[in-house]
Symmetry: C2
Subunit: 392 residues, 2 copies
């Protein structure tokens, strides 16, 4: 066959729902030659990566490490290890990723009760308590940052509520980790998974997870084998624990990348990083407001790193996104599920969360809207955003 | 916390059972900035990668792509998609990876019949036929290159045998692909998985798989959902097929790496690559013979890329491997399972399969053995290997 030419993609500005732009230091770390997955040097790298993950998750959980696959596999890891066939699980659905968790749990043999909120909304404590009291599930699963709607689920009180009723709390932090506060121990989260390609700004390919001692005990007390060999924590924990017992070959280069991205997170500091995400969100939001573009999630519940906004009436979704991509190399996300064709998802995640990106995106969007004959005041979006930055 | 320093592992020569050394072109390809997993440019990269994978697998199978996880997940992908609870499966066990396949199949609910051969041996056709006739399984699973024993299972006739009896053939080519001939269509293989970190010399993290039309039909006719959401081909094939329908975020950088490693394979040409692996194996084998070190697998059944040899009497396994690593940066593998403490596994895979590595390894080994007081003729190994190269 004709061998394709050298890899040569034209540059992009990644402002979609992930992957985000990867910092140059992470890119070059991946060019580091490989060492073996049982090499003493690699074991030290694993320790450092786990220690930094604990810091970012704000947990002392011993079983904290990156699953060797993407975020959805992290979701599956948590579910198939905590659930045995017939176990009751409550899943909170307010977007695509809650739906996905329901599907994963059913495949694991859970007796699933779903509770739903309209897309863009979040769950309050009282109705949750009522369901937990009625169902008495082994596990409650909920998404912290729903990537399909941009809604920010308060999670501080969920652990206390679950533990009152002897339920384990499973939290999806795929999009939130590294962008807004995530405090696994303070919040009493028993199992958590995340992704690397969102606010950690590492390429996709790993899913950081963490299990509380209570969750580990539940897993080690299982009566049945975990249905997935690859994701079976009773075995994987022997490689990521003291023994370093071979299970499967670790994705070495991806762990190099995660290590470097975690170094960047901790060098910046978590509070500074959260503040940066919030500031760029506020600037973007001011700019969008000046263009009369509104958010899908309610005021006070809008995620700073994932801005899901309603596509204005009369605006062509695909044509707008194509122009952004073709003319400016800017990628934003379309709507998923219920929001298909109705929403844009503008990500300001990790290294992508920068004033440069906010300003150039707003300028490019203004141009795209004007070209479609949408009545806007050219310059209003950029100016409104710039005032936020100028105001300190 | 104190943030760890810059990544700075001391260089290694990877002559173990994988990962192998990665070509500099693959390392630098991974430093390419990311693009989105639904970007038209990325869809073209996916097409090119699939087309090259088909060439390397020697197949026209449409459903040919890299699973977003390491080789063991490729094994699990094949098993959980082909098997529904209660289906009969025969697994051929002659080392660790046949054992692993048994475990994976049982977790998928298969009624598993295992047949065994002593470690280091392979299966002949006639006894296999007898078992298939008796059990009439839906799937026969067998390992082409058993990484734990270095034994090379002939696979040319297995597909014909299976299809006579209406059985699907599942072949593990984790260690063989790119190092010895693998001809999926000619051999009638219905499902195959491999790894990237062996003879393709790409970092670990992906598992190339391919399914025959007969296997795809079996999967699409399933009565039950695949137990793994992440590995469910009925959904994943919609992303890797024409629709490009979002399932999970593809591991973009790893696909960049695989694409570059496949370019290197095809630029070299498959026959030239197989011949290179064989030549370096012959040189290593001549050198080891001169040091009176013998192979675990029978003559004629020894894999060129995975040289499993018996540790000579009186030689300290760990001390020898530690010296190779500390003094020369050379990693070789210890024994697994039945071979723990009894065998070394010397990999000459992909970019690691080079005369330089054969010669320096033999010299380093000679030094290590002499330092332990083992009676060898210093220089005999290197010279014997060098004669093979000099002889053309």
């Amino acid at each position: 066959m004709l061998v394709p030419g050298q890899l040569n993609p034209s540059p992009r500005v990644l402002l979609g729902p992930g992957p985000s732009d990867v910092h140059p230091r992470v890119l070059t770390a991946m060019a580091t030659p490989l060492i073996g997955h049982l090499d003493p040097q690699f074991l030290a790298i694993m320790n450092e990566t786990q220690e930094m993950l604990r810091a970012v998750f704000q947990t002392a959980n011993h079983l904290t490490f990156p699953v060797s696959a993407t975020g959805s596999a992290g979701m599956e890891t948590c579910v198939v290890n905590l659930i045995e066939p017939g176990d009751r699980m409550v899943v909170c659905v307010k977007g695509v990723f809650g739906q996905r968790m329901t599907d994963v749990a059913q495949r694991a043999g859970a007796a699933v009760t779903t509770i739903e909120r309209p897309w863009g909304e979040v769950f309050e404590l009282d109705p949750l308590r009522d369901v937990l009291k009625k169902v008495r599930p082994k596990v409650l699963g909920i998404v912290h940052a729903e990537t399909s709607t941009g809604a920010w689920q308060p999670a501080e009180e969920l652990g206390r509520l679950c533990h009152e009723l002897d339920t384990l709390l499973l939290l999806d932090t795929v999009t939130s980790l590294g962008g807004v506060p995530v405090a696994i121990d303070d919040w009493g989260v028993d199992a958590v998974y995340s992704g690397t390609q969102k606010c950690l700004s590492c390429p996709p390919g790993l899913s950081p997870v963490s299990f509380s001692p209570r969750a580990v005990e539940t897993i080690n007390r299982r009566k049945t084998k975990v249905q997935s060999w690859y994701l079976d924590m009773t075995m994987v924990q022997r490689y990521w624990g003291e023994e370093r017992f071979y299970h499967h070959t670790a994705p070495i280069t991806m762990i190099y990348a995660l290590r470097e991205s975690l170094r960047l997170v901790l060098e910046e500091g978590l509070p500074a990083r959260w503040a940066r995400h919030m500031k760029n969100h506020q600037a973007l939001k001011a700019g969008l407001a000046a263009l009369r573009i509104t958010y899908a999630a309610a005021e006070g519940r809008q995620l700073p790193m994932l801005n899901a906004v309603r596509i204005p009436a009369g605006v062509n979704d695909l044509a707008t996104r194509k122009r952004l991509l073709d003319e400016f190399g800017i990628e934003i996300g379309g709507g998923l599920g219920d929001f298909k064709g109705k929403a844009w998802r503008i990500g300001l995640m990790g290294y992508s969360s920068r004033p440069n990106n906010v300003l150039v995106f707003l300028a490019a969007l203004e141009q795209g809207l004007a070209a479609q004959g949408v009545k806007i005041e050219m310059g209003a979006g950029v100016t409104a955003a710039n005032r936020i930055y100028a105001g300190g």
